[in-house]
C-alpha cells in the first residue's frame, strides 16, 4: 500500500502508530490490509478499538477521506464507519486469487478515474470477505448509491449481492476487500488498480476534492 501511495503521489505517506491518539494534518487516512492483532476474535474487531481510531472517527465525522482495504475494510465496518460486516468466506477457505470488480459509480474521489460500469482486475487475499448485512440495510445502501464495487462474474466469497466495497453515506469513507494496490505496476502483472490512486492524488494534490 505504501508503495502504491508513494508511486502515485510522489510523496512519502506518513505512517501512524495504533496507539497514537492524534492525527497530523492529512488529506486521506488509509487503513491497509494485514491481520491486525492476528484477527483472532473477528477480523478487525480489536483494531477498531485501537486508540488511533478515536481521531480517525473524528476525522471522518469532519468529512475527512478514509480508505480501507481488506483488513482496513473489516476495521471500518467493525468501527461502524461503514455499514455491514464481513463473515467467513462461503467456502470456508482463504481466497488468494484475482477477481474482477465492477465500478458502481464514478462521481467519488475513489472512483473518478473509472467510468461507472468499468470492470477491472484485482487480487484478493482474505479469509473473511463475505459481505453481510440485513436485508433492510442492503436495500438502503443500494438505494442510496453506497455500493462502491461489486464482484463481476464469480462471487467467490459469497458476499451478499456480490458487494465487494461500500461507501459511507457522504461518499467520503470507502472500504473494499480486494487489493487494487497490488496491481499498480506492469512488473507485478498489471496496472488495473492504478486509477484508484491516480484519482485520489488528482483530487487532493490538485485540490479538486474541495
Amino acid at each position: 500500500m505504501a508503495i502504491a501511495l508513494r508511486n502515485a503521489s510522489g510523496r512519502e505517506p506518513v505512517m501512524l502508530w495504533h496507539r497514537q491518539d492524534t492525527l497530523p494534518e492529512l488529506d486521506l487516512v488509509v487503513l491497509p490490509g494485514g491481520f491486525s492483532h492476528g484477527d483472532y476474535l473477528r477480523s478487525g474487531a480489536m483494531a477498531a478499538h485501537a486508540p488511533i481510531m478515536g481521531p480517525v472517527r473524528d476525522f471522518a465525522a469532519r468529512g475527512g477521506y478514509v480508505l480501507g482495504v481488506c483488513n482496513g475494510f473489516q476495521i471500518l465496518t467493525e468501527a461502524q464507519l461503514l455499514p455491514g460486516a464481513l463473515l467467513r468466506n462461503a467456502g470456508m477457505r482463504f481466497l488468494s486469487q484475482d477477481c474482477r470488480l465492477r465500478v458502481e459509480r464514478n462521481d467519488t474521489v475513489f472512483t473518478r478515474n473509472w467510468q461507472a460500469g468499468d470492470v477491472f482486475r484485482a487480487p484478493m487475499a482474505h479469509g473473511d470477505g463475505n459481505y453481510a448485512a440485513d436485508a433492510d440495510t442492503l436495500d438502503r445502501i443500494e438505494g442510496e448509491g453506497q455500493v462502491a464495487f461489486r464482484y463481476e462474474g464469480e462471487n467467490h466469497n459469497g458476499s451478499a449481492r456480490a458487494i465487494a466495497g461500500v461507501f459511507s453515506a457522504n461518499l467520503r469513507v470507502c472500504g473494499l476487500m480486494p487489493h487494487p494496490e497490488d496491481l499498480v505496476d506492469p512488473l507485478m502483472g498489471g496496472t488495473d488498480g492504478k486509477p484508484l490512486f491516480d484519482g485520489l492524488v488528482e483530487s487532493f494534490v490538485q485540490g479538486a476534492a474541495q
Partner: protein, 80 residues
Amino acid sequence: MKVRVTVMLKDGVLDPPGKAIGHALHTLGFANVGEVRAGRVIELELDETDAARARAQADEMGRQLLANLVIESFETEVLA
C-alpha cells in the same frame, strides 16, 4: 469469578462455518442433523466476588468487543 460469554450469529445471518459443519456431519453419516449454527465462547476469570456485578461486566464486554451487534447476539452466564 468465572463468566462465560457465548456469541452466536443472529437468526437470518448466513453462517458459513455452521453450514460447512452440517455438510461434513452428513458426509460422516449423521443423517438426522438439521440446522447447525456455529459460534464462539469466551471464558473469563474476573477479579470480582459479586455474581451480578461480574455478569454486568461481561455484558458490557460483550457489547463493546466480544460481539459485533450488527450481525451477532450474545449471552452471558456466571460459571463460578
